[in-house]
Symmetry: C2
Subunit: 221 residues, 2 copies
DNA sequence: ATGTTATTTGTTTGCGTCAATCAAATAACT
DNA sequence: AGTTATTTGATTGACGCAAACAAATAACAT
């Protein structure tokens, strides 16, 4: 697909150098526009972000963002997927080779790692998600499926922990999974709303501690 | 508040009956427009809700909503305050005459009561709040202050419980308050996103149970 | 009737969307 | 290879619609 004559050395901004293939052209404009969209959402939120500004800030015309993505909504969907790539990568890294309770704890830590390693991505992801709760749309669908998947993952880890006798049989798995996922998003929400009075790192740390205490107490019972 | 001359049998649309005072006129159009806005936000979200539709659905012209509220943002602020009136009322009712741990539990139950007694209000309130996390605005300010107040209230109740020896001294009050408020909002969020797979009543009930377990385990320690 | 205030209507500005067009890259042909 | 045809990326202009503001009209007050 890319019979490149090994000439161009990966320049960040529109190079006027040699001939680029169509694929390179599109990859570059895609990336630049998604970067611009990310910056704009951070600055202004989804409401005030316009396709015009996305295109122009990326160094193109006002019309390209629409021509490429089709609509504002679809642009945001693409942006969400790009942000999720890093999230899932972080998640895999954190739970690598772990099982049961240990994997569950790592999962909580991955949230912090993600927020620290990709702060803009994290913020943008949460903003895009929170700001789409009202509309019924592909974005909301995506969001719902993400949550269901997250709850299911946590359930599986809890079940695994029970099988390995790390936790007692009687545990209400679904309830605890809901508690854990809700709390993660609740903290993220308060962090977005009131960044000054919430410090993600310590907040998640203490939440983690509380949840562990809860599980340990179940263990003791 | 509405000394209506017992003439109109709860008409949904602006009655053209007898003479009303200016104050009554305003109160009626205010109420009708806020009702319309609430319905529209539920149907379409904040993005697709237009001031034009708010005015026209309330039985007025396209321009009245803007003339009255000044902007879409301010209309939504008014709507939030109206929804909050019912919330605070529910909260007072629930914690009436209670103290300490008992008041804390009632506070959690009030969330459910509110969602059951004023389902539209609850949904709209959460939608308006979630959908404003991205913009820096009066709405976000209001939201932040609400969260700070909620955390502070919970802290106070926890402190009260400790003073009355319902809970041990060593409890990390701030951490638990954050956990509790985060969880409430996290559940609300998942409920909005994926109403089918989350049932508020049972969800909050189980969360309540988990939190009580946590506090009890602290008690035991 | 006259003043005041609620409500409507006219107008401007800016965004999302689409169609038409230009320009660059790839494919086809000689 | 060199030239032409076709595809595809990118720009520009136009239309509909909503937010916002101002001026006009209708409803109420005294």
């Amino acid at each position: 697909m890319t019979p490149q004559p090994a000439n161009d050395a990966r320049e960040p901004i529109a190079t006027k150098s040699a001939r680029r293939s169509q694929q390179e052209r599109i990859e570059q404009s895609d990336r630049l526009m998604l970067d611009a969209a990310e910056a704009l959402v951070l600055e202004l939120g989804t409401h005030a972000t316009t396709l015009r500004e996305v295109g122009e800030r990326a160094g193109y015309s006002r019309g390209l963002a629409h021509a490429r993505f089709g609509s504002k909504e679809q642009l945001f969907m693409r942006l969400v997927e790009r942000c999720l790539d890093n999230w899932f990568q972080e998640l895999r890294k954190a739970s690598k080779g772990k099982r049961g309770l240990s994997a569950l704890v790592s999962r909580l830590d991955a949230v912090v790692e993600y927020a620290l390693n990709y702060p803009e991505d994290a913020r943008v992801l949460y903003i895009l998600w929170f700001e789409s709760v009202g509309v019924s749309s592909p974005m909301k669908e995506r969001l719902g499926s993400f949550h269901r998947a997250a709850r299911k993952d946590v359930c599986d880890l809890l079940r695994e922990s029970i099988e390995e006798n790390e936790l007692p049989q009687e545990l209400d798995i679904d309830a605890i999974a809901l508690l854990i996922t809700s709390t993660s998003f609740g903290v993220a929400y308060q962090w977005l709303v009131d960044a000054q009075s919430i410090e993600v790192e310590t907040a998640v740390a203490s939440v983690r501690q509380q949840i562990l205490a809860l599980l340990r107490s179940a263990q003791a019972a």
